[in-house]
Symmetry: none
Subunit: 252 residues, 2 copies
């Protein structure tokens, strides 16, 4: 453990322990350097690390300040690179949707072909839950529905891949739920799309199922893109708290 790590750790402790409140200014780099008996370069490196974690914000000529949006719910996942990945690079969300479109399309197709009675039962159950949940907090039911379909594809590779993307998928699902569902007409569109997927699978229509699933994912992406372009403030989803109230624990 290097000195800069140690410094950043001490500073973070100081902040979290309440010694420094959100929005408060922290001592200048030169002061910290003198006080802690290290070079200014070290201080700067430590500050950059905290900056990377979103703990502080610095402004040229003014100083560094404790970020107001501290991990209030101290969910470890909040520091997850994933959150920053999406926060810093919104494009990544669309990258994921591009992949999802293909994978979920294929999953739906296979599910329509291969679903057993048990699979159909599970899918139906998930669909019922999805239908009967508060639209504003059904990120998990939504994801559960999609997952049931994937599992019905009986393609272990597909299951494995989608499972690896689980956390990220939950993010996109939440993003869509949080941004799209409040808009009545969009909510209905999505509902309709879910139903189409469901029916196509249950009635064993592979190509229809694939088409519906792909259209669904594409719709989500296009809608969010449109919203973003319109300057609407898109709700950035954090990993630590979602509409369901539960954190996104790492997949097993």
């Amino acid at each position: 453990m290097g000195i800069s790590q140690e410094i950043s750790y001490r500073l973070e402790r100081l902040i979290l322990d309440g010694g420094l409140a959100p929005g408060q200014k922290i001592p200048s780099e030169r002061q910290l350097a003198a006080r802690l008996g290290v070079s200014r370069a070290i201080i700067r490196e430590a500050l950059h690390e905290l900056q990377g974690r979103g703990v502080i914000q610095t402004h040229h000529g003014k100083g560094s300040f404790v970020a107001s949006i501290l991990p209030a719910t101290e969910d470890l996942d909040d520091r997850s690179p994933l959150a920053h990945l999406f926060a810093g690079h919104p494009r990544t969300l669309y990258d994921l949707l591009e992949v999802r479109e293909q994978l979920e399309g294929q999953a739906a197709l296979l599910a329509a072909q291969r679903a057993t009675a048990m699979d159909r039962h599970r899918i139906t159950k998930a669909f019922r839950v999805l239908e009967s949940t508060d639209p504003l907090s059904n990120a998990r039911p939504d994801h559960g529905f999609h997952q049931a379909i994937v599992e019905a594809s009986h393609n272990p590779i597909l299951v494995h891949v989608l499972n690896g993307l689980k956390n990220m998928m939950l993010l996109t699902v939440q993003a869509s739920v949080a941004n799209l569902n409040p808009r009545e007409e969009m909510r209905r569109s999505i509902m309709r799309q879910h139903k189409q997927i469901y029916q196509a699978i249950m009635t064993g229509k592979p190509t229809a199922a694939r088409k519906a699933a792909m259209a669904h994912v594409r719709f989500v992406g296009d809608s969010m893109r449109t919203l973003e372009r319109q300057g609407a403030k898109v709700i950035r989803v954090s990993l630590s708290a979602d509409a369901t109230g539960r954190g996104l624990t790492p997949s097993a």
Copy 2:
């Protein structure tokens, strides 16, 4: 936005775009400083920021390495349970081909849309190698060609997913090479398909590229299925050694 922020952003983008894979070593601080025309201090600050976000890890005396940013779609290596799954159930090979068909189709489409001059150069190089290699031992060139295309898609998620499936993909590629290429007419078909994919991408025809790539993967699967059904002794490929004589160690 300061220079260090810009640098850290560029590095992250580089990593995400697949230019640097998880676990891979990134250039030394002095090299980066020289290459990007900034001082080493700036590089260190940028690296500390990425470190704070968990994007990289640095080790004294060794260097900085890309952390596994994305929630592992773990690399299916030799010891992986899934590898055994594959060994025992040949069907898994077709499961993988099903997934590959979608993913590589999408990759080809995006590559045709987004490939930069550099990408085209890399793809062309890979294609040349593929053309001029002994058909019986070109599993790696074959895979290299496909990989070049994937990277040209500029979709980090896609790159990551395919990368996680890399070892298994090498298996299918080897399986196809070992079984299909010895049959003259099939070898020519595959050659032709590769050329089609290549040309569609180079001439910027997205849908054609997707179609060609999907058809290619499908052809491989169908051919092997046919062979197997005909009772031909299908060459089983092991994970630890391939036709090139080299193990499936991660490429540099």
